[in-house]
Subunit: 394 residues, 2 copies
């Protein structure tokens, strides 16, 4: 049993109420990979477009580490456009005049879904570090309950970049019959040693902040702003490419003609990073950051299937479209190719494109016409096969 | 006037006395690039081998960001071998039976040379943030005074990797007539936007630590251990390559068979990084870290010479040997090639080798036989030209 209510979601005890998202409040417990059961839990989500009578036109968008459900509407905290409005909307490659698009805040997130900043019913206080450590599979299983609740037997597509792509792969592996097409972008089937290392730096930066208060900062009435900002700064470098940084900032000075011979933000790139750090703290919960990075580190689809990645996809009838970017050093093309090889090994239907871009990992969020064309073409072809009407002109 | 004394150096008010290094105590002020004069200041240094009668066999080794003067002897704090014993010593490519090798702790350092942890004579307290912001050029100018003091008109060679290589380039640019040969390894003539970004993350991590105490932690009797450890962890990732991390650690778990579903150091790479962070704090001063990274960020040899790098070397008679490593993403080969092109533009004598290695930037400190052969060959050829005797058998 589950109840869906249009509600105003309080993000945490200290944050302002958000604009309305739908809220799916699950009444059945969720059995997590760690062995614990989570109950109750809720998943906040946005929808765009209309579900058709056959319920065959639903597309689930999975967000990345610091993303949320606001994929194609103005963000209630930042006031910025939806994070993937270039890809999702009326006439866009994922066309909301034809498809019913769902995007939910992940389990463990901090924008309405249950996470470490939510109230633990056993104590009446924020979960903090008592929240169970979750996995990408757990995030997907919670999404499955949401899709059940919406009465959708099979998703036309599951689409996501970065950690969103990990969820796409997990959907395709754990819930084969419910995924007609899958579009994992700029992602990998496992988290590399270097990626774990960068995440660990971020976690240690948060935990080094005395205002983290051993995870109980909400109860203590503080926020580990400095630590979380440092974590974001370090991570942000990995989202770009050296070339992108050099082209965007080079060694340009910020608001000055000469070096100040001080520790001020002399260089534009320093000023930019400091802004990325401080603005992130205003919209993200520090413990959520710990939990989500941990889930990514734990992700290893082959390990879940006898150390053979192809086993994850054995028997699949899903059609895959795998996308990578040449300058993405966080999830380099070689890791997308491993996915493609595993799919080939089980004779799955897969197309793969490596897109030439100098924008680094963040390319998947940016204006990349080749990615748009690729997604549009793949979706239109699959839609034609099952008789979903033609796309409106862009 | 200057005095040289064999002395026991106190590294900072809080640290144990070090084993003996030579100490050059300058009596003349040093005019810094920022416009300030520094006086008094001291440079701690080690020597190996014997200066010949002609004073023609002196080689200066320049250390990197977290290095020090203990290039070829057991380190007085860590008890580890000298940091470049693979390259420097009896029978080694830089053979201390033939050459008089000098290695000094840089100005701004924390192992005996004057830096922010030293006592400011004006206040009787540690300099802290009152220490002037220095440049690579300032470090080199202080070394010049040391070389003057040792009575050496021309160095047979100046050799260094990473920030040591920046010093080599600055020596060759500022003091052409005093450098017979120069060996810049795994370095660049300017610090890229991405490298500035990583340094800024490190500085912000230090400054975010309340125990940094706005730079006055020595007076406050504390040490910003957590912040400095995070800074070191982030930097350390950049010294390796993704492949090196994957080969060394992969996704191997540390002392456990299964994931712990916690924020413990489940993965070996996490445990390794935490160790790198915590052990670094025992041997390095946080403010020195700020000042030295700043000097590296400010380094831009072309900007010092009308934005034309070749101008830095115009009129040089120095012989150069430039070395890079294929997997070094901190100072990629392209940046070494810029140096070579600038040298070619002024018809300088330069040889260049890119060494195939998967060990990343740290390769310059590791067992890289091709680098040893290259340095040995280059030095032997130059030594033969000026009649320094043959190398003993390795």
């Amino acid at each position: 049993m589950a109840a869906s209510v249009e509600t105003t979601i309080a993000r945490s005890a200290q944050m302002q109420p958000l604009a309305t998202s739908h809220l799916f409040e699950a009444s059945e417990p969720l059995l997590l990979d760690c062995g614990q059961s989570l109950s109750p839990y809720a998943i906040a989500y946005q929808t765009y477009g209309t579900l058709n009578a056959a319920k065959s036109n639903a597309i689930l968008i999975c967000h990345a580490l610091t993303g949320d459900q606001h994929v194609a509407n103005v963000h209630p905290i930042t006031g910025k456009n939806g994070w993937w409005e270039t890809l999702v909307g009326p006439g866009k490659p994922i066309d909301t005049t034809r498809f019913f698009v769902i995007c939910s805040n992940i389990l463990g997130g901090c924008l309405g879904s249950t996470g470490p900043a939510s109230i633990n019913p056993a104590t009446g206080k924020a979960w903090g570090l008592d929240f169970p450590v979750i996995t990408i599979g757990d995030m997907v299983d919670a999404q499955v309950r949401l899709i059940d609740h919406l009465g959708i037997a099979q998703l036309f597509s599951v689409v996501g970049g970065s950690m969103g792509g990990m969820q796409v792969l997990e959907w395709a592996a754990r819930h084969k019959e419910r995924v007609l097409t899958a579009i994992p972008i700029a992602t990998a089937a496992w988290h590399s040693s270097q990626n774990i290392a960068f995440h660990e730096v971020g976690r240690q930066a948060v935990m080094a902040d005395p205002d983290w208060a051993k995870g109980a900062y909400l109860a203590a009435g503080v926020v580990p702003r400095r630590g979380l900002a440092v974590a974001r700064m370090a991570a942000h470098i990995t989202y770009l490419s050296e070339k992108a940084l050099q082209q965007k900032f080079g060694r340009n000075l910020q608001d000055r003609a000469k070096r100040s011979f001080s520790f001020n933000a002399d260089f534009q790139v320093e000023s930019y990073l400091r802004h990325q750090g401080s603005s992130f703290v205003d919209r993200f919960d520090a413990n959520s950051y710990l939990y989500i990075t941990r889930a990514m580190d734990y992700f290893d689809l082959a390990a879940e299937h006898g150390d053979v990645l192809a086993n994850a996809f054995r028997g699949t009838t899903t059609r895959f479209c795998v996308v990578s970017f040449t300058s993405d050093w966080l999830y380099p093309t070689a890791e997308s190719k491993e996915i493609v090889q595993a799919l080939n090994a089980v004779a799955a239907n897969v197309s793969f494109v490596e897109i030439d871009s100098d924008k680094g990992h963040d390319a998947f969020l940016l204006d990349e016409p080749e990615m748009f064309d690729c997604v549009r073409g793949f979706i239109n072809a699959a839609a034609a096969k099952i008789g979903i009407g033609k796309q409106a002109k862009a």
